[in-house]
Amino acid sequence: MAVQTTTNAASPVTGEAATPRASARRHGIGWLFILPFLVVFLAFLVAPLAYAGYLSLWTKGLATGTTFAGLDNYTRAFHDPSFRKGLWFVLRFSLVVIPLQVLVALVAALLLDEITGRLARFARLTIFLPYAIPAVLGALMWGFLYSPSFGPIEQISSFLNVQAPFLLSRGNVFYGLLNVVTWQWSGYYMIIIYAALKGIDSSIYEAARIDGASGRQIALRVKVPLVRSALVLILVFSLIGTLQFFVEPQILRPIANGTITPDFTPNIYAYEMAFNYAQFNYASAISFALGFVVFAAVAVFMFATRKRGSLFT
């Protein structure tokens, strides 16, 4: 596997008293270290991606057999009201849930950076706790709490003598899911921001304080800009996660009285198409189209934040 180049000038290894050839051979060993990952990468990312692309170009009919369809599946997907409805939902949902999550995570992290002691330690672990809980169980617990017959929302409402809102009804399901997702992920994002805040040299704050900055000004004008790359990282994560929304609505489906339809999100729709209708070609096209939307959304986002220093520079 060693790469045999004698003129490898671009190998600035400090303090190495070896010939360029030996150096190149040594660096070639790098391939051996990344080899196991490359195998997994090819088998479970490149191959499925390529295969999905291939499958999506064919169509399978009972009478006609498998025939080449070109981009027909994609034309069908982007004209399919079900796919468009799901896509529209996840786009709308991410526009609300991402700023909300980042806001909760940022406020929590800034508070934790300011306060020390037992309360801070307790709060840090409590806010992070949902990350250690599977999304399936998080959704189930909230499903119970939303229950119109015995949940606490119902109890508080009857105490106040008002009609209890059912958070999984057609009009409210957006907010019901918003709460579940914010609860599930904000703590993880909080820890990432908090870790970045802890990495900042605190003499900067001293300097700002001497210049007369208040605690709030230090938080907003000094701390937030310094953790910008952590913020970009979590924005990308939550964008990718939200656009492929699946687990929470899928789990809440049986108890949502039909509000969450089989085309609620593109991922649920693809799953339904593949496993309940055996339309693997069309399901692959939906997956691929969704993947493309995610990729494009993230790329646009990365481009927009590029100048300010980001993960991929």
């Binding site: 400090t14 391939w31 970045a196 990308v236």
Partner: protein
Amino acid sequence: MNNARRTPRHVRAKLLLLALAGYFLVPVWWLIVASTKNAEGLFAGTGTLWFNGFHLFDNLTDLFTYNNGEYLRWLGNSVLYAFAGGIGCTVVSVLAGYGFAKFHFRGRNLVFAMVLGSVMVPLTALVIPTFVLMSNVGLIDTVWAVILPSLLSPFAVYLMRVYAGASIPDELLDAARIDGAGEFRTFWRVALPLMRPGVITVMLLSIVSTWNNFFLPLTVLSSSKLYPLTVGIGLWEQLASGNNGGGQSLWNLIVVGSLVSIIPLIIAFLTLQKYWQGGLAVGSLK
């Protein structure tokens, strides 16, 4: 310090923090309380968030014996998938991160750019084609169908590359080489101990993501004896809401089963706190 000005602000900050902590704790508190109730208490219209009788041990007995103890089977499966997938993913990612950080081989930047680009590929978009590919080679409905795809984590590779770059001085590696240590010996004896917090972080993150995974096992497994807890409890939920529990109220089992299944990860996070918090810092500072 100018205490007079700072104290009131901190009181407000502490109250806000307490409110946040309360919000995040509510469902877990509910889960603990609900686990101690019998079927009647669980659906009684009063005091959802407070105790009503104590039936935790009855519920646990029911949980572990229902349907020939299928819960314990699922628990065992989850442990197997999480450890095999999580540890395997860690080994693969740590090796690759170190390789990317410390060797200047040809094509490195190209391959690493592909890895970074793939962080943006939504992994659930790969589940359906992975299913079809694996069914072509007969891997569907085996433990491998869950474990093998779990080995892939481009983000873990990125994290380990940053971590290895920041925590291992080149001079130290060179010194080991001059002393005659081979590359793998140098990695094992010099680099790996220095990367320990990063390795533990990646291991925790990948164990959690395998333990919590739902979509992949739901698709690639069809016999319920191979289910992990997430898919198993999802199955119970479907049976319970369709009233197919065979006369027994499955909701109690779902509640107490959920409680039991979140305990191992909470313990892992609490005991390994120091490591993963430091490890995450490096990943986000780059």
